[in-house]
């Protein structure tokens, strides 16, 4: 493929060299190092090379519309727009808030949106055919972590009664669902199961909430091919509520707890209607959260544009995570100011800043350092690892969203058809060439699988290379 960016940059270097050579030859006896004077013949040659050296990507489309949901982790898209990173790539990008994940996905599929901020589970579920079916791919992970689980004040009180350790202004973290099990069992016995909210059936939040509950022995309920409510055999009732409505729904008593991204946990805490019990980095340290998704068709039709968008997003991620020599975030305050605008996240600056600037408020008396609550770049956060995709696939199987057993090969093949690290690498290479990125910002040597980790709240080891073995380990959930 002659238009490949590798070749392109390589070619432009060759051209540059030719130009310099030609200039040197043209200058003849005079010192070759002298900068070429303007308007002379030699200058024309030198300029010609310079003219060619600054080639932009050959964009197939330069006016894009990207969708996002009003959550702080839409930051890379918003920052890339506001800081002009998209402009630098020759893109003119409109970003548009969407009402919910379903509308967002439908609009990406219909082509009204070119791409969007998506739940990591969305491209995967769409591709394997749970819910709306469409082949969605991703070449960019938007962030790690960023969610929390909040319970109502009355549930919190009951949890404190069940476990006296929690009855403190600063209870020990992480808090498991063990105390909640007492509450859930009591409510189930009374015929009024605990009702919990999450944002979408294939959202990170759903899997995290289920993981946290199941780790303490609370059965969150199965999905089957015929019954997609996800409540079969469950000890609790988990249902969908759009993120911005979470605090209101909790306040109204329709649900008694929820798992959601920021700022909706912090808002419940600040309005004193709930207590945040656990963050997702405590459930699974550095779990992948959101991705930038496009349809496979779009990616096929617009390869260079896709590359340009990923370049801009990588730069935005790096900007968001930049720290000074003391390890303090350099740009997060500015990012919060931008996100607080009414066209973006729109929540008050203080609420957004709570989680974005390195601390997290569990309850009014309990403010904890959470440096890695939102990770946008550090630790190769934006690299699309196959193993991240596989973890989601295992959870989809664990709770029955994938309705039949699959072998390991299926997991690997599926991951490779959805996650596109090669595009990320091309984009990163271009950025390295331009001096925007250093070589050690990118995991060049990886085969796409993170090393096995047991940094989960229940200490279970996850090795992306062996998904079936992983599934078999859990006491609750489908084991094959």
């Amino acid at each position: 493929m002659p238009d490949s960016p590798f070749l392109l940059t390589a070619w432009s270097r060759v051209v540059l060299c030719c130009g310099v050579l030609a200039a040197a030859v043209g200058c003849g006896g005079s010192t070759a190092a002298t900068p070429a004077p303007s308007a002379s013949r030699t200058a024309a040659v030198g300029d010609a090379a310079a003219l060619l050296a600054k080639e932009q990507l050959d964009l197939e489309k330069d006016e894009l519309k990207l969708g996002f949901i009003k959550l702080t982790d839409c930051a890379p898209i918003v920052i890339a727009k506001e800081l002009g990173y998209f402009d630098d790539e020759g893109l003119s990008v409109t970003v548009e808030a969407q009402a919910n994940w379903k509308i967002l996905l439908d609009r990406v599929i219909s082509g009204e949106l070119d791409g969007a901020h998506m739940l990591a589970g969305q491209p995967i579920a769409a591709t394997v055919g749970f819910g709306t079916k469409a082949h969605i791919v991703t070449a960019f992970s938007m962030d790690l972590n960023g969610n929390g689980i909040t319970v109502s004040k009355s549930v919190w009180q009951q949890m404190q009664e069940a476990d006296p350790k929690l009855d403190s202004p600063t209870p020990p973290h992480p808090i498991t669902a063990a105390a909640l099990k007492v509450v859930a069992d009591r409510q189930k016995a009374a015929g009024d199961p605990l009702k919990l909210g999450m944002v979408f059936p294939v959202s990170t939040h759903n899997y995290e909430l289920r993981y946290w509950l199941a780790a303490a022995g609370i059965h969150p309920g199965f999905y089957t091919a015929d019954d997609t409510r996800g409540v079969i055999d469950g000890d609790v009732l988990i249902s969908v509520t759009p993120p911005p409505q979470m605090p209101a729904t909790l306040e109204a008593g329709t649900i008694q707890g929820y798992c959601v991204g920021e700022p909706w946990n912090q808002q419940a805490v600040m309005r004193d209607i709930g207590v945040c019990v656990v963050t997702d980095s405590e459930i699974w340290k550095n779990n992948p959260e959101k991705v930038f998704g496009v349809t496979k068709e779009w990616a096929g039709k617009h390869p260079q544009t896709h590359l340009a968008v990923v370049k801009a997003l990588i730069r935005a991620g790096k900007w968001l995570d930049a720290v000074d020599e003391k390890g303090e975030f350099l740009n997060r305050k500015r990012a919060c100011e931008i996100l607080a605008r009414k066209d973006y996240v729109g929540a008050d600056y203080d609420v957004i800043a709570n989680s974005m600037t390195g601390t997290f408020l569990f309850q009014s008396t309990d403010r904890q350092e959470q440096k890695d609550f939102n990770v946008f770049f550090e630790g190769f956060a934006t690299y699309p690892y196959y193993s991240d995709c596989i973890w989601y696939l295992t959870q989809m199987r664990r709770w029955g969203q994938i309705d039949e057993p699959r072998d390991d090969a299926w997991y690997h093949e599926t991951a490779k058809s959805i996650y596109l690290p090669e595009i990320y690498r091309q984009a990163a290479q271009l950025l390295v060439d331009e001096g925007q990125l250093t070589t050690d910002d990118v995991p060049w040597d990886t085969d796409g699988y993170k090393s096995a980790t047991s940094e989960f709240i229940d200490g279970m080891e996850f090795n992306g290379r062996r998904p079936r073995e992983y599934l078999a380990k859990f006491p609750i959930g489908r084991k094959d």
């Binding site: 040659v45 010609a48 060619l52 006016e63 970003v95 009402a99 066209d343 609420v351």
Partner: protein, 369 residues
């Protein structure tokens, strides 16, 4: 002059201001003063009382977004929305200046490359330079087509909503008026259409919306970058059309069916053809009632549109309200209230426009607000 002003006020439905004109003209002072008190001063007092009650009531309700904003805060929120609009206008202007500058840069580069390619020393690079010159030309023309990519301001949202409601309204009228006339002319046709009218008329717009969205999504498959209209615009407009169809249809049918028999007889005596009969007799005679229907239709359309925009997240005032609700900031309530007043005032103005049209086509002045 006086009569002209009075006629104008009556025509536009602002006859409450009539006594002011008469008073200025020195006509029967005590009587006019009494009327002014009744029609203008008392409503103003009532409005002030409303503001007062609101201020007091607002301070006593605590929500999770803070206290309910009082009129002053809503006013400030309105001003800030307007300020944001002005900022957007400036940004847009700046964008186009910058865009044109970029176009010039690309054009200049293309020229420069062609010039460089013409220099014999560059023979080795010639092909490459020419190819790039073409690319720069392409970039220039593509950049020249670019549109402002910032988010729409509040006034932009209002304009979008107005455009959508009028499109839907026009579509509805284009269907409803001919069908209504046919219904009025032919009792058989009426009997055929009537069941549909009866069943579909009471359907809520929000039930139509998903159907419309799905059908538009399936049928309207033009590439979004080349389409004249956005899908969201079409689905909003069609939803408006589906809901604002019925009042016009029913009123037109009624108007045509109840035309004075004398007119019909005159047409018979004059042996007018069917087309002439429709345009010379039936249409003029049924216009007043037809316009009553159109007026209701536009009102319904406006209400439906806001709901549709909220639910489907189609651009416009409805989306603005929903976005602000989702923001959940301390400004949220005040901004939503600004939107509520805007929607109300625009609805009122649309109604006035229709009243003026209605009066202009009526033979008598009996039709009133």
């Amino acid at each position: 002059m006086k009569q002209f002003l009075i006629n104008g006020l009556q025509l536009t439905g602002f006859s409450a201001f009539e006594p002011v004109v008469r008073l200025c003209a020195g006509e029967n002072r005590p009587e006019q003063v009494r009327k002014i008190t009744q029609l203008l001063v008392m409503p103003a007092v009532a409005f002030l009382m409303f503001l007062g009650l609101w201020t007091i009531g607002a301070a006593s309700v605590e929500t999770r977004f803070g206290k309910i904003p009082n009129p002053r805060q809503v006013w400030v929120a309105g001003q800030s929305l307007f300020a944001a609009h002005r900022e957007t206008v400036q940004q847009r202007a700046a964008f186009y200046v910058e865009r044109d500058a970029k176009v010039r840069v690309h054009t200049a580069k293309a020229a420069e490359m062609r010039a460089a390619a013409a220099v014999p020393a560059n023979a080795a690079l010639k092909e490459r330079l020419e190819k790039n010159a073409v690319k720069q030309d392409e970039l220039a023309s593509r950049t020249a087509r670019r549109k402002f990519s910032g988010s729409p301001s509040y006034l932009d949202q209002i304009l979008t909503s107005l455009k959508t409601v009028f499109t839907g309204f026009v579509l509805a009228s284009l269907v409803a008026i001919p069908v209504g006339i046919l219904c009025g002319l032919s009792p058989t046709f009426m009997a055929c259409v009537n069941p549909f009218i009866q069943i579909f008329k009471p359907v809520s717009p929000l039930a139509w919306l998903p159907i419309v969205m799905i059908v538009v999504g399936a049928v309207y498959t033009t590439d979004p970058s080349e389409a004249w209209f956005e899908k969201s615009f079409i689905s909003s407009a069609l939803t408006v059309a589906l809901c604002s169809l019925w009042p016009t249809l029913v009123n037109t049918a009624l108007a045509v069916a109840s035309i004075d028999k004398d007119y019909i007889n005159v047409a018979r005596v004059l042996r007018l053809g069917p087309v002439t009969r429709v345009f010379k007799i039936i249409l003029p005679a049924s216009l007043p009632l037809m316009f009553t229907g159109l007026r209701i239709s536009l009102g319904v359309g406006w209400m439906v549109l806001i709901a549709a925009e909220m639910l489907a997240q189609n651009p416009g005032l409805g989306k603005f309200v929903w976005d602000m609700f989702q923001n959940g900031s301390s400004e949220t309530l005040a901004q939503i209230m600004v939107a509520v007043f805007t929607i109300g005032i625009i609805g009122f103005l649309l109604d006035r426009v229709m009243i003026v049209c209605q009066k202009l086509v009526s033979f008598d002045s009996a039709v009133s607000a």
